[in-house]
Amino acid sequence: MTNAHADYVLGLADDALVSAQRMGWWISRAPQLEEDVALANIGLDQLGQARTLLAHAGSLEGEGRGEDDLAYFRDERDFRNVKLVERPQTDFAVTMARLLVFATWQAELYAVLAHSSDPTLAGVAGKAVKEVAYHVDHARQWVLRLGDGTDESHLRMQVAVDAEWPFVEELFGAVDPALVADGIAADPTVLRPAVLGRVGRVLGEATLTVPHLAPAVAGGREGLHTEHLGFLLAEMQHLSRSHPGASW
């Protein structure tokens, strides 16, 4: 077990955690009641994935840190999530554009990791692969309705896809080749065409255009985030940090 292994798992855990934190915002704010239920479901699935992955990362690290130590007592620079998930998503079109990309990536990723040589990771992925299939389907349904709905929704959906697109490439950032060679991690160069192909087909079906935009500067996996993450963490962590050592 190496630190690269723990870091890899931590990155996936942070992706799921930060995404769940953003998803939770929607509960009581969705366009209709069924959607409050659906987005809560998706957020809960992501949070569940985050918890098991964080616990696993903590045990790989071997310093006795559990899920809450890692979630609540690390600073911005120690978070390893991609920037895609950390930016605000208070617009429904943005939420669906991002979920389509993120869940499709997770679906391809977890399908590979279900056969990882790390048995814990394989177990988490094997369970999560079913959850994210629902997330992909949910996002797809909405991207179709919004893309091919009214003129306004079409425009808003395209604007959202354009806004998310520069952050897609970071999902396929390099992974330690030793982890791939050992069968622990998924190879991003294999994931990339599969994910982009699936997302592109949905966008086409939704009468939307796949953007040709340069990728944003990456860095999330090294702890170089957008300014938004600090606020997200400040809100998420403040209570726990105000009572160090307390149990809840």
Binding site: R29, Y72, G149, S240, W248
Partner: protein
């Protein structure tokens, strides 16, 4: 009108529900007398239908407005386990809203109209949700006291004369009972935690105790709709009886928690076989119902904003469905 989670009463100065007329269909009266269930296709008196629509709708509104005070802490829950439980709980409330709107729709109204009445202030929701959630311990107090009071009110509704409402309440009560236990557990953990955590728990109970007692509505002799609702088998016990049942349940639980209830007059009365307790300040309740509570404006603004911000999404979904239906090969049957 104020709906208190399966209760129905009128604030002073408001018109009470129209009294029943004697021209109730024979079949309807026979059903009530035989303790049978009234179903949507039965011949229902208009006044019974109107009372039920209002009560069920306001119950549904309470569930969805009730998502806000707890939703307020999802982003700040102090552990990931607590965050997951809270998200699931608020999600359940959305689900309860869905069952209840569906139950109301069996009476010939539709959800969109009921929501319009909520948004324009013509229908109300439970006043308890106009109180703010100021600390994490409020998640415990709401679960223990507010959901506890809701259960006391709602368990009898599982035997309500209107079938679809009674059946919805059976599902709702099962989940509420889980919610109450998790609220109790939050408070138990806090009251056995650090001194700061225990103080937080006590403060939350101090703030939520009296508003929880108000959830049962005004005293029986000041509750103009109760008699009719009892005659119709919608309401089974009086406001004061339910309030007493709640106090009797809460007192030993507070002891188990190691917390005190903010009422020096609470004591066991051997003769009555119940706990005596102090007088509830119903002036405060009526002020909150009239819109002067701490969070009335915020709760409504949040709800209306969510609805308005989502309008383009709902329009798009309808437009998409229409296009799909119009496409060649679409099933038009």
């Amino acid at each position: 009108m104020a709906q208190v989670y399966g209760n129905d009463f009128t604030a002073p100065g408001e018109t009470p529900a129209r009294p029943a007329t004697s021209d109730e269909p024979e079949t309807f009266r026979a059903l009530l007398e035989g303790e049978g269930r009234v179903e949507p296709r039965d011949d229902l008196p208009d006044a019974y239908r109107r009372t039920l629509v209002r009560q069920i709708a306001q119950h549904a509104h309470s569930e969805i407005i009730g998502m806000q005070p707890e939703g307020n802490w999802i982003s700040r829950a102090p552990s990931l386990r607590r965050k997951a439980i809270l998200m699931a709980k608020v999600q359940d409330e959305a689900g309860h809203g869905l069952y209840l709107y569906a139950a109301a729709e069996t009476l010939g109204v539709d959800r969109a109209d009921l929501l319009d009445q909520l948004h324009s202030g013509r229908q109300k929701y439970s006043s308890i949700f106009n109180y703010p959630t100021l600390t994490w311990a409020d998640m415990g107090a709401i679960g223990w006291l507010v959901d506890g009071a809701a259960i006391v009110n709602q368990v009898p509704l599982c035997r309500c004369s209107y079938g679809p409402y009674a059946r919805a309440m059976i599902r709702v009560c099962k989940e509420e009972s889980f919610h109450q236990r998790q609220g109790f557990e939050i408070l138990h953990t806090l009251s056995h935690g650090t001194p700061a955590q225990k103080a937080m728990a006590q403060d939350a109970v101090d703030r939520y105790w009296w508003p929880s007692l108000m959830m049962f509505g005004p005293p029986d002799d000041d509750s103009p709709n109760s008699a009719q609702s009892m005659a119709w088998g919608i309401k089974r016990f009086s406001n004061d009886d339910l309030r007493q049942r709640f106090v009797d349940m809460a007192v030993p639980q507070a002891e188990a928690l190691g917390l005190t209830l903010p009422d020096p007059e609470i004591r066991w009365n051997e003769d009555r076989g119940h706990h005596d307790f102090g007088e509830v300040d119903f002036t405060e309740l009526f002020e909150v119902i009239k819109g002067n509570g701490p969070c009335n404006a915020e709760r409504m603004a949040h709800r209306v904003r969510a609805h308005e911000d989502g309008a383009w999404v709902r329009e798009a979904a309808n437009a998409y469905a229409d296009k799909q239906a119009a496409r060649p090969g679409a099933d038009v049957a």
